[in-house]
Symmetry: C2
Subunit: 465 residues, 2 copies
């Protein structure tokens, strides 16, 4: 299996990036009923290539530029393997002390690596925990905020008044989902208007809060984004943080993709004002060579987090928990059980070193800059948003339909995979450079394919002479 | 790494089961700062034995009888490895069709394997999805119930009245946690009294619902348990289901540990009435040789589930989703991203076959029966709850302190690991037989160690003559 994976990583470039199957193709190749008797291992693995591989969209392909990357690396895969092999369950300190203590230490390392505020460190009143995804981190942050706003009573009695949360029109869908889950209600999120850079307008935020207070609602939570999914917009954290502080609102900062870039000092100016955050998360599983899932979530006040989520049944009581001398990470998230995910981070950070990770991230930024200049120099295309990091938003100067057709042709070819967004109601292509194996030649070829396909489209739409 | 894991699985019996370190021991062995430069792989792996292993509580040891097992197997570990190696992210059908379609098919297999109602099948209005843990399944079930009870308005406007949920005093702490997260409120869960078998009393449930209706509250959700964590009690699903149906309440059945036993026809009588359930979950990661995390969650009405959790931003739109012709599992749970977890189930079910899994489960039941008979035959001990499956609750006929001391001595020895619960305010030892490697000799030795330690305790407490 290790050899198979090694071969796969070497040859992944040769697969069509986006799976070419149609709905039902894979399921039709699978038996309707489970086998009564066990089957030989060779027979099982022989099915991987014909049944599974055609249904894989190759996130690890160097030609994968869709969504945001979910990049990985050998040390990370081996960390995941070791975690599966040890098979420990780290819900309590006592159920595997190494699973808790390694996580605590590595997350403190990351604070240093990203130059985050000391108030997130485990040696202060804060602390970090690995969540599965940024969606979960946002939900947990909103729950802490909800509890703080109700003086820890909504857990006890239910939600009996209207709480309002604030985020930008460009924020991730997980903010809305969190409000749905937490019982805040979809209609009680205020989607704050953005400026020409697609970043939240602090004045509009301030106004919206004032408006809600006048209407006797209870503003309680702001989610700012560093690097929106749509266009990588950077909300201005300092003025937003000042508003949060003045108004007494909880501030969560979602840097799911962009957070990894803070390892490089030259990008830290984007996060100016992050010291106001009560909660912050980013995903090493997006751009830090750590395979999914691994979201790193820091809070300023861990006691508030634990108070929000802790339930203590008899069967989980143990000496160290009762003494309060340890972290029991089960109280830091929704699931009870947890894998030993710190191992993969430990391997990745040690294998690459901080400087190795910086080099790797800088190379993607350089490639993105190059791609941006090519778009800029080609009169048929236009850039649609500023490019702070490794995402380029661009389009043909043509109809939405033409742009959608361009994307569909490229994706259907299997040569590369791009996805889209809408900005000002215009269909925009997103080129996200972040796969582990992506090198200059892949970006060059992607641009070649894009321009070729644009030529062909132009030709097709030209009236016959 | 594969060799290391193979060696570990062969030698796991030799480690002290419960980690012997004290808080801070592991963290003290880890550098305070991350390395600037990358380190050689040999140096990294050389740290596993001295730093990590002393802090491992060996869940895979055949002498692990604590909590419930989190058992694993080679095919499952290789499935996890392949999932990490492919590095796909299955949030949408389109982001890797095989990740979705294999999961759909395997979960339909499981319905057949457990002889569950057809209404959970993907070919009807139902369907199954892999969640990380039963805690998440319970939360998702409660959210569907909440939305149904508010005619899908609480997502929109927040929760403006008092909803009440029902579960037994013996239910898992995740029910309470779900009510906290979902904004229902801790005080709005009714913990229904249990009978002498620690199973929910249907009459008491009926009364509690009536009482809440009279007080103008809105009963909306029942969580019944097949195999409580504390004592493996089986709530009577048929009368509970009849009440749920009569009262129009949503019924979730949590069979986290015990569900795997339903693969054997002789245990299915325990689940009589399961056909009333709107939602059902169990954890192959507990007793079906599949490594953590893997909770399987079925619902009767998948449209209701999707309606509860779906948010559709532009950047996730794609042809198949818009056509409604595929499952996008991101809408079936809290996180957006998801690993390819169906691979490990596929490998496990094919490697063992249904009959192989039955044989494996039956052997643990036989060992549990044997252990129970030994307790029964030893006048110093007593059984404290019925034993429907593989958990034995027992105690010394002595003070709570003596029983706690007995457990602490056993666990400190490293020879085996047991945990406790309280039943009728009495400290009770739990012997859960479920680790993959556990054979008759381990259970025999465990009983030997327990009786030896009991002898020693008795001796120590005997007044000197």
């Amino acid at each position: 299996m290790i050899d198979r994976i090694a071969r796969y990583m070497e040859s992944v470039e040769q697969y069509p990036v986006r799976s070419q199957v149609t709905p039902g193709d894979i399921i039709a190749r699978l038996p309707e009923h489970p086998p009564a008797q066990g089957q030989p291992w060779d027979a099982i693995t022989a099915d991987i290539d014909p049944i599974i591989m055609p249904g894989i969209t190759h996130w690890q392909s160097p030609n994968f530029f869709a969504y945001f990357s979910a990049n990985t690396s050998s040390p990370s895969i081996l960390g995941e393997l070791l975690s599966a092999g040890l098979g420990v369950q780290g819900m309590l300190w006592a159920t595997s002390p190494a699973c808790t203590e390694l996580e605590t230490r590595i997350l403190d390392w990351l604070i240093e690596m990203l130059d985050l505020s000391d108030h997130f460190k485990s040696t202060t009143d804060g602390g970090g925990v690995i969540q599965d995804t940024a969606s979960s981190a946002t939900l947990v942050a909103m729950l802490i905020a909800r509890e703080r706003a109700t003086h820890w009573k909504s857990n006890r009695i239910g939600i009996d008044r209207t709480f309002t949360a604030y985020t930008s029109t460009q924020a991730h869908s997980s903010v809305e989902k969190a409000a749905m889950v937490a019982g805040i209600g979809r209609d009680n999120i205020r989607f704050i208007d953005v400026d020409e850079r697609f970043a939240m307008k602090p004045d509009a935020l301030s106004q919206a809060i004032k408006h809600d207070r006048l209407a006797d609602r209870t503003p309680f939570f702001i989610c700012a984004t560093l690097g929106t999914t749509s266009s990588h917009a950077m909300d201005p954290l300092r003025p937003i943080g000042e508003i949060a502080q003045r108004e007494g609102l909880f501030l969560h900062v979602d840097a799911a993709e962009a957070g990894s870039a803070l390892i490089c000092p030259e990008f830290r100016h984007l996060a100016a004002g992050l010291e106001y955050a009560d909660s912050f998360c980013f995903n090493p599983h997006k751009h830090m060579l750590t395979n999914f899932d691994c979201d790193v979530h820091f809070v300023r006040d861990r006691a508030a987090l634990i108070r929000t989520l802790s339930v203590m049944p008899e069967y989980l009581k143990n000496e160290q928990t009762l003494k309060g001398s340890v972290f029991d990470y089960r109280d830091w998230h929704i699931p009870l059980g947890r894998r030993f995910r710190a191992l993969k981070l430990w391997f990745v950070i040690r294998h690459y070193g901080v400087e190795g990770l910086q080099t790797y991230i800088r190379e993607h930024m350089r490639l993105a800059q190059q791609f941006e200049s090519w778009v800029n120099d080609d009169g048929r295309f236009e850039l649609c948003a500023p490019r702070p990091l490794n995402l380029i938003c661009f389009r043909l100067k043509a109809s939405n339909e033409a742009n959608e057709q361009l994307m569909d042709c490229l994706n259907a070819s299997g040569d590369l995979f791009l996805t889209h967004t809408k900005l000002h109601d215009r269909f925009v292509l997103r080129m996200a450079i972040g796969a582990t194996a992506t090198q200059e030649r892949h970006v060059t070829r992607a641009w070649q394919r894009i321009t070729d396909e644009a030529d062909r489209l132009e030709h097709r739409h030209r009236p016959t002479e």
